[in-house]
């Protein structure tokens, strides 16, 4: 994959400040010496003195990429920033060393103990950083060309302003961006996310650094862009003999790019080894857990079974005890539900894993699952009537919700065009699209949150009003929406119980005690447990919050559930448990689900149908197997070709 033409390498060698590089350094590099050595690194929280990072030992050789893998809060970024001698507010370097062997000096530098001035000379020149979110890390008030040339100016690249200007142009070409004056004069907000990330990469590579810290540089990028950015990074590390510390939570990306892997858990490195070794023969339980949670395109890695493997879904070390308690509660609850319902259909569905959706048995299964919802005792009067009315009007094969010729434009800009989509009971449709494809707009239109669309949304044979305000209470409660970020969709000042009671209050017809009972049932249904009723979102982890958000969508016993990227803000293991939960709920309740995502690898894990949205049009629509194995549209083919895999 790392194909770079030799001519460009030659032209760069002439610009490269090779003369300044110490020959002793080259000799070391030739002998296989390290360019970075981290020994016994401890970083503590300033306030409490508790260890955030303990006993971290890592080393890096030139041209090598070491992946530092772990979930959010595991301390990956903290270690990465320590390589640049930077500790964020609230963190203190306790002990241990970070030795950098800069190519322009004979003596190594200990990054944690350097005076500020020396540290500044190394940062951005010998060791540079590529941030996670380019939208936040590029200065919105500086032109992009200036942000690159600033690095060169500060570190005194070359001998003249022309040489520096030429380097800005050459590094822009290297990352695949236009190098003309007009492009350099653009502001960050005038570039796409992928282009912004390339500017960040160009900034990091401008000085030909020896060590590069890459902090999840492809998170938030589309797969196609991600593939291009990964290619750029790999090519440039090889070409310029740069060692890379690649911080990520995405094991599929790791498999694509890394030479070695170090797995971090709660501030410690629990496993370290060659890329293939760790991915194929993981030693530590946590690594196995992580690997088990990665969704793959083929659907072999049954992430739905992940939760059954008794892995705490919680990523916060501090919340460990609480998580265990919740886990136990969940298990006992699972036991009781299984015992009381003893539903063979649901059992079979969960056990058979990803195949369930793709097999043709989805229809009949649903038939047995939906009356069960009524008997489970969690449904009130609404649920019972809803089930009875579902039977005659909507046989299992008919669509509960149909979208016909839906279109939407903002001024002259067309966002969506003639969308047709069917959602059936007990069936999950994956709506796949990249950012800007209009997938969220479509989801919101169906839910009635956008009312500016044309065309029809037909629910149970009846065209419903465009805006939720004009829809009847029944229609509103039947179509529920779950938002992407569990961090912003729950009111931080309300307890979970209060937030969950709101939809019930809106629907009316229940006493406070009944509402309370129904909310608690919903909390049980999402395996959170009743004790979460009086907690506030601030006390919950990301996964727990998203479960609470799902519970809020479920309190009114909807028949259509729209999930808008609900796992994209979550770690893979949490994503796996949420996916598993959704599958179970779908089987239990016969929900028609629209799962909006940009991650095609999730298809076989949750959905039975896939609709691919590109630039406002559905370009592929059909059963999962048909679309993934025989994609009709070039866009889908391209998308499938770019998916990183383990």
């Amino acid at each position: 994959m790392s194909s770079f033409d030799t001519t460009s390498t030659g032209s760069i060698a002439t610009v490269s400040p090779s003369a300044r590089r110490s020959s002793a350094w080259h000799a070391r590099a030739q002998e296989g010496g390290n360019v970075l050595e981290i020994d016994d690194l401890h970083i503590t929280a300033t306030a409490s003195g508790a260890d955030v990072i303990s006993d971290v030992e890592l080393d890096l050789k030139p041209s090598e990429i070491l992946a530092l893998v772990g979930e959010s809060g595991s301390g990956k970024t903290t270690v990465g920033l320590a390589v640049l001698g930077h500790f964020r507010t609230g963190l203190t370097h306790a002990c241990g060393t970070v030795w950098l062997y800069p190519s322009d000096a004979d003596e190594p530098a200990e990054m944690t103990a350097l005076p500020d001035a020396t540290l500044r000379q190394l940062r951005g020149a010998r060791v540079s950083y590529i941030p996670q979110d380019p939208a936040l890390s590029l200065n919105p008030g500086m032109r992009v060309g200036e942000q690159i040339s600033e690095v060169l100016d500060i570190h005194g690249f070359g001998s003249s302003a022309e040489e520096r200007a030429e380097r800005v142009r050459s590094v822009l070409r290297e990352v695949g961006l236009p190098d003309d004056e007009a492009y350099q004069r653009r502001w960050p907000h005038q570039l796409s996310g992928g282009q912004q990330q390339r500017i960040g990469i160009a900034m990091a590579f401008a000085m030909y650094p020896d060590v590069l810290v890459l902090d999840e540089p492809t998170t938030g990028l589309d797969v196609a862009t991600q593939a291009q950015v990964l290619d750029t990074i790999r090519e440039m590390t090889v070409r310029n003999k740069v060692a890379g510390l690649y911080i990520t939570h995405d094991l599929a990306v790791v498999a694509e790019i890394a030479d070695r892997i170090a797995v971090m858990l709660r501030g410690r490195i629990v496993e370290q080894g060659g890329c293939a070794d760790v991915l194929e023969r993981p030693q530590h339980d946590y690594t196995k857990t992580l690997l088990a949670a990665v969704p793959d395109l083929a659907g072999r890695n049954r992430i739905g079974d992940f939760e059954r493997a008794d892995v705490p879904a919680d990523e916060k070390a501090a919340a460990e005890a609480r998580a265990t308690a919740a886990e136990e509660n969940r298990k006992t609850h699972l036991l009781t539900t299984d015992a009381t319902h003893a539903s063979p259909a649901a059992e079979a569905a969960t056990a058979s894993g990803p195949e369930t959706g793709t097999s043709g048995t989805a229809g009949p299964e649903t038939g047995t699952a939906s009356p069960e919802t009524g008997t489970s005792g969690t449904g009130g009067a609404t649920a019972a009537s809803e089930v009875s009315e579902r039977q005659p009007t909507a046989p299992a094969t008919d669509a509960v919700l149909q979208v016909r010729g839906l279109g939407l434009s903002y001024g002259p800009k067309t966002i969506l065009e003639s969308i047709d989509l069917d959602l059936r009971a007990g069936e999950c449709t994956l709506l796949l699209g990249e950012s800007g494809s209009g997938k969220t707009t479509l989801a919101r239109s169906i839910a009635g949150l956008n009312d500016g669309y044309t065309g029809d949304v037909i629910y149970r044979g009846e065209t419903i009003a465009r805006s939720t305000r004009q829809r009847s209470i029944g229609q509103r409660t039947d179509i529920q929406y779950i938002f992407q970020s569990p961090f912003s969709s729950l009111n931080p000042r309300r307890t979970i119980g209060e937030s969950l009671a709101v939809p019930l209050e809106m629907a009316g017809g229940l006493s406070a005690a009944q509402r309370r009972e129904q909310v608690k049932d919903a909390l049980d249904a999402v395996r959170l447990g009743r004790q979460f009723h009086d907690r506030r979102p601030g006390d919950l982890s990301g996964g727990e919050r998203q479960r609470a958000a799902i519970a809020r969508a479920l309190v009114n016993m909807p028949s259509v559930l729209i999930c808008d990227e609900i796992t994209s803000a979550l770690d893979v293991s949490v994503q796996a448990s949420i996916i598993s939960l959704l599958r179970t709920l779908q089987d239990e309740r016969g929900l028609a689900m629209l799962f909006v995502t940009h991650n095609i690898a999730l298809a076989r894990h949750i959905a039975s149908r896939v609709a691919v949205l590109n630039a406002g049009r559905i370009v592929d629509d059909g059963p999962v197997d048909a679309v993934l194995e025989n994609p009709q549209h070039t866009y889908t083919q391209e998308l499938l070709a770019n998916v990183p895999s383990l």
Partner: protein, 319 residues
């Protein structure tokens, strides 16, 4: 693009000034009292009242009078003072000069002082300097200007020291700035009242910007601290502060009334107070119009600073 935005703001400002002029004119016209009678006092005879009414167009309908007045404003004719019989422009020219000296001097001191104190305070977050600045600015912001003024008078002019004059004396034919020591206390009061707001706002926005990803990135690029602050952080922090500065300077145009009264300073504020006492409608109208003009100008300047420091506004959204 920038020019268009600025022109747009300018047009809005002019509309606002028109609206203000309407309100001022009709509010003062509705005030009770007969200007002619007020001017003539004891010597009012029907003939003389009629003559003055004729001279001041008081017989015309209000709308005509409004347009006559508005037209006068454009050519610098602010009308005739009913109290002294002099043209208002002549009466106010000295006064405006004195007040502007006071306000400009206060602004020149308080804006840089507030900005610098805010930056220093943000950079030394949680340290002694920061605590002192935030504590003191909170106390000063809580005190009304006359309390600050009286305290300063007590401290520097009367009870403790007697080094500075407590009131402004200006012999005829001289200007206020001929006696610099008389300016110190009024300026000090304005500075002490205005600076805390600027400093607090500067500190808050600076803290936010210093925590941003691009400031961290600049440091990780090896950018020297001075450049991090002045090139990367300050331009983003100054936008919201410019709005606060504008509001403070505009407040000064009105707040100067109290300060001038306190120090018997012969400025616009004094003129306004005297005019209200004598029901000198023309002067009241002129002074309020001048204050409104200052408000609009400083806010326009703040908008322009905001536009210049925000490239998104400059390039017209996500172009």
């Amino acid at each position: 693009m920038i020019a268009r935005l600025i022109l747009q703001r300018l047009a809005i400002s002019i509309v606002i000034l028109f609206a203000v002029s309407l309100i001022i004119f009709f509010a003062t016209v509705l005030l009770p009292g007969d200007p002619a009678r007020a001017i003539l006092g004891q010597q009012a005879t029907p003939e003389r009242i009629a003559a003055i009414n004729e001279q001041m167009n008081l017989n015309e309908p209000p709308l005509t009078r409004y347009f006559l007045w508005l037209g006068g404003l454009f050519v610098g004719d602010l009308g005739t003072s009913v109290a002294t019989g002099q043209p208002v422009s002549q009466l106010l020219s000295d006064r405006v000069g004195s007040s502007v000296v006071l306000m400009v001097a206060a602004a020149l001191i308080s804006v840089p002082a507030g900005v610098i104190l805010g930056i220093v305070s943000a950079l030394r977050r949680g340290k002694a300097v920061d605590n002192t600045v935030t504590g003191l600015s909170l106390v000063l912001a809580a005190l009304p200007e006359f309390v600050v003024g009286i305290a300063l008078v007590a401290f520097f002019s009367t009870t403790v020291f007697t080094i500075l004059p407590a009131v402004t004396m200006r012999p005829p034919g001289t200007q206020v700035w001929d006696f610099p020591s008389q300016l110190i206390l009024p300026i000090a009061v304005l500075v002490l009242v205005v600076t805390p707001y600027i400093a607090r706002m500067m500190r808050a926005t600076m803290l936010e910007v210093l925590d941003s990803g691009y400031v961290e990135m600049a440091r990780l690029k090896g950018v020297p601290e001075r450049r991090v602050i002045f090139r990367h952080a300050l331009p983003h922090a100054i936008g919201p502060v410019a709005q606060v500065i504008a509001i403070q300077l505009a407040w000064m145009a009105g707040g100067v009334v109290v300060v001038e009264f306190l120090f018997r300073f012969p400025g616009l504020g004094q003129a306004l107070i005297d005019a209200v006492d004598y029901r000198d409608v023309q002067v009241v109208q002129a002074v309020t119009m001048i204050v409104a003009l200052i408000y609009v100008i400083v806010n326009l300047l703040a908008d322009i600073v905001g536009i210049l420091t925000n490239p998104k506004l400059r390039t017209g959204g996500d172009a």
